[in-house]
């Protein structure tokens, strides 16, 4: 997980979108380039993609907005995760709320932002047995990352808190609270 690499993927995706062939989907270290293979033969798409990759250093990284997420740290996995990390609950809360994260990309659910990077002292592997039901607004961590569940959904991340802020609202523009590239802070309530 690498903020700079994910930033380059986002910039690459922006550059592909600007060509108008179709939309790109960036992630940690990849970009899926969508296009209509009848209008743009795949070999031409490859050539265009390579050209963009060569010129990518000229594309500035997005700065992102700062998004604050008021959080009640009372999640189901808070105690166990603190214990596993050999931290007190208070120390874990301070570490989680004490730094700024970058929304590397969105995926999994509408508005679900993969935000990194957690303090390495927090040891939070994914749950071995994902939960059937994680409530909307759950603030969760896993594998060096943190996020907020936009909807009730199954999920394998460790729930450490919750927020009342709507993470996804189709009536809003943009509909997501956290956009790719945004800087995210959790404010302990």
């Amino acid at each position: 997980m690498d903020d700079a690499l994910a930033g380059r993927c986002r910039a690459f995706a922006d550059a592909w979108d600007a060509l108008g062939h179709g939309r790109a989907v960036p992630a940690y270290a990849s970009v899926v380039l969508r296009f209509d293979p009848i209008r743009l033969p795949p070999s031409d798409a490859e050539r265009e993609a390579l050209r963009l990759a060569r010129d990518l250093h000229r594309i500035p990284n997005d700065r992102g907005r700062v998004i604050e997420i008021p959080t009640r740290y009372d999640g189901l996995d808070l105690g166990e995760t603190a214990e596993r990390s050999k931290l007190t609950v208070e120390e874990l809360i301070n570490l989680h709320s004490g730094r700024e994260y970058r929304a590397l990309f969105l995926g999994f659910l509408p508005g679900f932002a993969y935000c990194g990077v957690l303090d390495p002292r927090i040891l939070a592997p994914r749950l071995v047995r994902p939960r059937e039901h994680v409530p909307a607004g759950s603030v969760a961590i896993a594998d060096g990352q943190t996020s907020v569940y936009p909807f009730d959904s199954p999920g394998g991340w460790r729930v450490i808190g919750r927020t009342d802020v709507a993470v996804f609202d189709s009536a809003r523009e943009p509909p997501v609270l956290i956009s790719p590239g945004d800087r995210v802070r959790f404010i302990a309530l």
Binding site: A29, R34, P37, L106, F108, L109, P110
Partner: protein
């Protein structure tokens, strides 16, 4: 306007998909069987961006307020009005006439197109319904759906499109982006074995059981995925992603079903079998070109 009289198990408005917000994690949605959807639109003279209705489990019945051309497509479907009109055939709808989509035993996703297209309010740039995020809602009896203006060309009635052979379980696929995660044996097993469709299959994906396909190295770094991608989770049971697939996925993709055959996968019923045939990218593009040419011929 059309009035919905019966909805079947579930009926939703769909356009070809919401592709503009994948980066916000919003699945494309749209029709599970894009070929049948496009054929229905072409039969009634709509362009590819128009919206139609996807019906799961009949009977679905509706009434047109004014004269329209209508068509139903999908697997094992027909349209009953004053007469019964076969699926994949355009029909003339008289004002006030109730038309019922007849879903046969092997029906799964049916598409009802009306000339002018359904013009419900677009959300985030699309009319594709995506229920998990509240983008649109299931249709209810009594709903009135607005339609776009259309010149009613009565000559269209009786025009038909050729349905694909939905009873075949032969699905063409290209090698996937993570093929190196699979041994040659695992790949040749995937492209020769028979799989069975699981009841848990839905608009998100067709879940398969069969011989276990093992990937090396477990999960991949989460990345964007497309409809047709065949993901292999750690249990070794492949999932073919469909319209409501998540924008990103973390399982290795062994193969990608070609666009022209997506509907054949979506329309397989639980318990039915299928096999994958490996084709190259050029053939995949040719098959899509042929499918589009057929639509242009009827439009």
């Amino acid at each position: 306007m059309i009035r919905i009289e019966q909805t079947g198990l579930r009926a939703t408005v769909q356009d070809r998909g919401r592709f503009g917000h994948l980066r916000l994690g919003i699945p494309p949605s749209g029709p599970a069987d894009p070929g049948a959807f496009a054929a229905a639109q072409a039969l009634v003279g709509n362009d590819g961006a128009a919206a139609a209705i996807e019906v799961v489990g009949g009977p679905f019945a509706f009434r047109c307020e004014d004269r329209r051309i209508v068509a139903v497509t999908g697997r094992d479907v027909a349209l009953r009005g004053r007469d019964v009109v076969a699926g994949w055939t355009a029909a003339f709808a008289r004002p006030g006439e109730t038309l019922t989509v007849v879903c046969g035993e092997r029906s799964r996703f049916a598409y009802v197109a009306v000339s002018g297209g359904v013009t419900t309010e677009a959300i985030l740039g699309s009319r594709a319904t995506y229920l998990p995020a509240g983008l649109g809602r299931p249709l209810r009896a009594g709903d009135d759906l607005p339609l776009g203006n259309a010149r009613v060309d009565a000559e269209r009635a009786g025009r038909s499109a050729v349905s694909p052979d939905y009873d075949t379980g032969q699905i063409r696929a290209i090698t996937g982006p993570h093929a190196q995660r699979f041994t040659d044996e695992a790949q040749s097993l995937f492209f020769s074995a028979e799989f069975q469709v699981e009841p848990a299959s839905d608009r998100m994906g067709t879940r398969l059981t069969g011989p276990r396909i093992d990937a090396r190295g477990g999960e991949i770094l989460t990345m964007g995925v497309v409809a047709g991608a065949v993901q292999v989770p750690s249990g070794g049971a492949p999932i073919v992603l469909l319209a409501e697939h998540q924008a990103t996925g973390g399982y290795p993709v062994v193969a990608v079903v070609i666009s022209a055959d997506l509907g054949l996968v979506a329309q397989r019923l639980p318990g039915e079998r299928l096999r994958f045939t490996r084709v190259d990218r050029d053939l995949a593009v040719e098959a899509l070109r042929d499918a589009r040419a057929e639509l242009e011929a009827i439009a």
